[in-house]
Symmetry: C2
DNA sequence: GCCTTCGCTGACACAGCGTGTCAACACTGC
DNA sequence: GCAGTGTTGACACGCTGTGTCAGCGAAGGC
């Protein structure tokens, strides 16, 4: 059973609508603010009813957040793909680098900065963002533990991943606060330099 | 201008109602689950209208979460109160210990465990919990930076606090998952042992 | 004593979110 | 052409959180 390369025209169409809907939503939310924008407004701007909006995104938060869910998976994939001989510090640094790149090295950096600022500046979205990160943490911990051949209840992999994510948060916040003027990769290196002594190489 | 030791009968009364309301709410939420319990139910159980409930707590989440907001302040106070000669690792360990003690060393540990499990097991509450922690992180970072005489934009205090909170989360999760059978203070020591090399003493 | 004032309360009404349901429509493959 | 599948809008519903208003009781001034 091979998954078709072209995932059935219907699904492509759905993806297309889904993407454009998010585009419109993000633009509107960034302009008016999260709380000042209703789902009805977004739906109307996209030329559809509120009910249809919810067929693409379960909630207003999801339009913004789901973007980052994909990144979480990419980070986990990257960590799993790093050479197994690589020390955890380096592997984690690279994995976090993927997330940082997604934010700052985006094809439209200005828009991405706006989205990040929207998330960090909106309590509801910030909370969801952290929650998503907690999920990612669980997955990453499993991957790292497997890499190191440690039992899944060992404290080290969990703490190592939590430290790496702490670095990510610190970097993201400072990058957003500087309006993108600070170099995210340099910030990440600096943060990991602090963590290095505890990450064992 | 001295703040009265007895904060005006009206305020005491308000505090009393507030406490009992939370008691009833927590009991109901823990029994039925967060999503299966409406604010109307809680209010009815406390013998008041939904409108009055919201005069004491801004939202259903707040009944549960506000409890922890106070703990956040206590942790910050503890960190500020630690002798300034104390190395950051020890000061942070003690500060986090206050939060751990509040959860596990509570007068009614069974109830507290139920609340913690409720929070960690309910996505909405977990998200709010993390959000609250992010606020606390900002405050703690300021205190630690001041302690160390470092500029407020130095990376070290921020990362140190984030690491300490990462330890707190890891401990809390494992303690809750073990149904309180694991010793929280030992867990905390173990987590801080991992962090120690990066916390500079 | 009465009366004013303040805080608390319940009873509405309202906007917003998210969901279930149903009929209408389009587009696929037989 | 026709049945089957998927998408859409319309409507109704329950739940949350807030504004508003009138009623009620306790505290304090005259």
């Amino acid at each position: 059973m091979v998954v078709p390369v072209v995932p059935s025209l219907a699904q492509r169409k759905r993806q297309l609508v889904s993407d454009e809907l998010r585009e419109i939503a993000l633009q509107l939310l960034a302009r008016q603010g999260y709380d000042n924008t209703t789902v009805d407004e977004i739906a109307a701007a996209a030329g559809m009813s509120r009910r249809t909006f919810h067929r693409y995104y379960a909630s207003k938060e999801d339009v913004v957040i789901q973007l980052l869910a994909d990144v979480g998976d990419q980070v986990q994939t990257e960590l799993a793909a790093r050479p197994s001989a690589e020390p955890p510090a380096e592997a984690l640094r690279r994995a976090v680098g993927v997330a940082i790149d997604f934010c700052s090295g985006h094809h439209d950096p200005v828009k991405m900065l706006a989205v990040v600022r929207l998330i960090l500046g909106t309590p509801t979205l910030h909370a969801r963002f952290l929650s998503l990160q907690a999920e990612a943490q669980a997955g990453l911990t499993g991957v790292l533990a497997a890499r190191l051949g440690l039992p899944p209840d060992d404290l080290y992999p969990e703490m190592a991943v939590r430290m790496a994510l702490a670095a990510f948060d610190a970097v993201l916040e400072r990058w957003a606060a500087s309006s993108g003027s600070l170099d995210p990769q340099e910030l990440t290196d600096a943060a990991f330099a602090v963590l290095a002594p505890a990450l064992r190489g």
